[in-house]
Symmetry: C2
Subunit: 195 residues, 2 copies
């Protein structure tokens, strides 16, 4: 089948991925742009997964202060090389992450980072909330678990919806950059202040 | 004695303090500008002292990232009113403090904030350093105290020399703003990240 140059161009514009890779994906998808996009996304995730175990020593410190100067955040994001640390696109990602932290006030980087004591405290809180509802053991347990899952996702930077495109998580945003830049990217730490 | 208008103007330009106060100080100092400046400084310190007990609920979050994006800081500074929080000069002060933290990496706000365990750790360190020097009890104690004082001053934001004018401490810089703006100003917290 014939792959149209304008479709390759369109796919590249939408994904930022190389012409070659876009053409290959379009061929595999029989010229269907949406299918090709899904393929590229899957490939990107695979690539990101491979990179995720790699060591990160370089990086960028980025900050954001909201217009009214009453709230702001600073974030440290690592990558593998000085070359990527100086890359405009990587720096833009770090800026986006600083804005995300300022606007969505996560408490943790990932759901895996939540200290056991915080989970315990939340569980106690939910137990109290449900105490009036006369739930039995199993159903109470499930109700608490579901609340806890919500708490974890809402308060972990990586599982929050990305503020510019709520269909994406912040983790997906970062993985797309990993695929594009070809290096592991790790959020190391962040701090948010609010008056 | 005759106070020259140009001297009043000069004093005002150098201190930022009102014409009235400058003229009064010049009169008291018999027209000597340097003496008048000392008087104004003393008055400012007195005024700052009075303000220092007042409650601060408003303020600004400010940040600074060094050009190379490898180091930066965020700082929260409080004042008394929203009016001062929006004041350009107050905001400039906060910006200067963020730069100071970025460049001079203090660990504490004030020498009074240093945790007892940090002081203990430093003392142990100095004891070890001095162990080869065969100092006796009193002289050892003094040598350690002097090292400790240096450590405290160098690592506390308020007692550090202000990076733009090393004859001033950061605390003096803040006290001058308190005198000028007429409100208590307190550094609440800061964080510094470096790759």
């Amino acid at each position: 089948m014939q792959i149209l140059a304008k479709d390759v161009k369109k796919l590249r514009d939408q994904t930022g991925i190389s012409m070659m890779a876009c053409k290959k994906a379009l061929t595999e998808a029989n010229g269907n742009i949406d299918e090709a996009k899904k393929l590229l996304k899957k490939q990107g995730e695979k690539l990101a997964e491979k990179k995720l175990s790699r060591d990160t020593q370089q990086g960028v410190v980025s900050s954001y202060i909201h217009n009214n100067s009453r709230v702001g955040a600073i974030i440290e994001v690592h990558c593998e090389t000085d070359f990527v640390a100086k890359n405009k696109e990587f720096q833009k990602l770090c800026q986006e992450l600083a804005i995300q932290v300022t606007g969505f006030s996560p408490l943790y980087i990932s759901t895996k980072d939540i200290p056991e004591e915080d989970i315990k405290r939340q569980k106690e809180l939910y137990k109290k909330e449900f105490s009036s509802q006369n739930l039995n053991g199993d159903r109470l347990e499930k109700a608490i678990e579901s609340k806890l899952e919500k708490f974890k996702k809402e308060n972990s930077l990586l599982s929050q919806p990305y503020f510019r495109d709520e269909k994406k998580t912040v983790e997906e945003l970062i993985h797309a950059s990993i695929a594009k830049l070809g290096e592991n990217i790790q959020v190391k730490r962040f701090t948010r202040y609010q008056i």
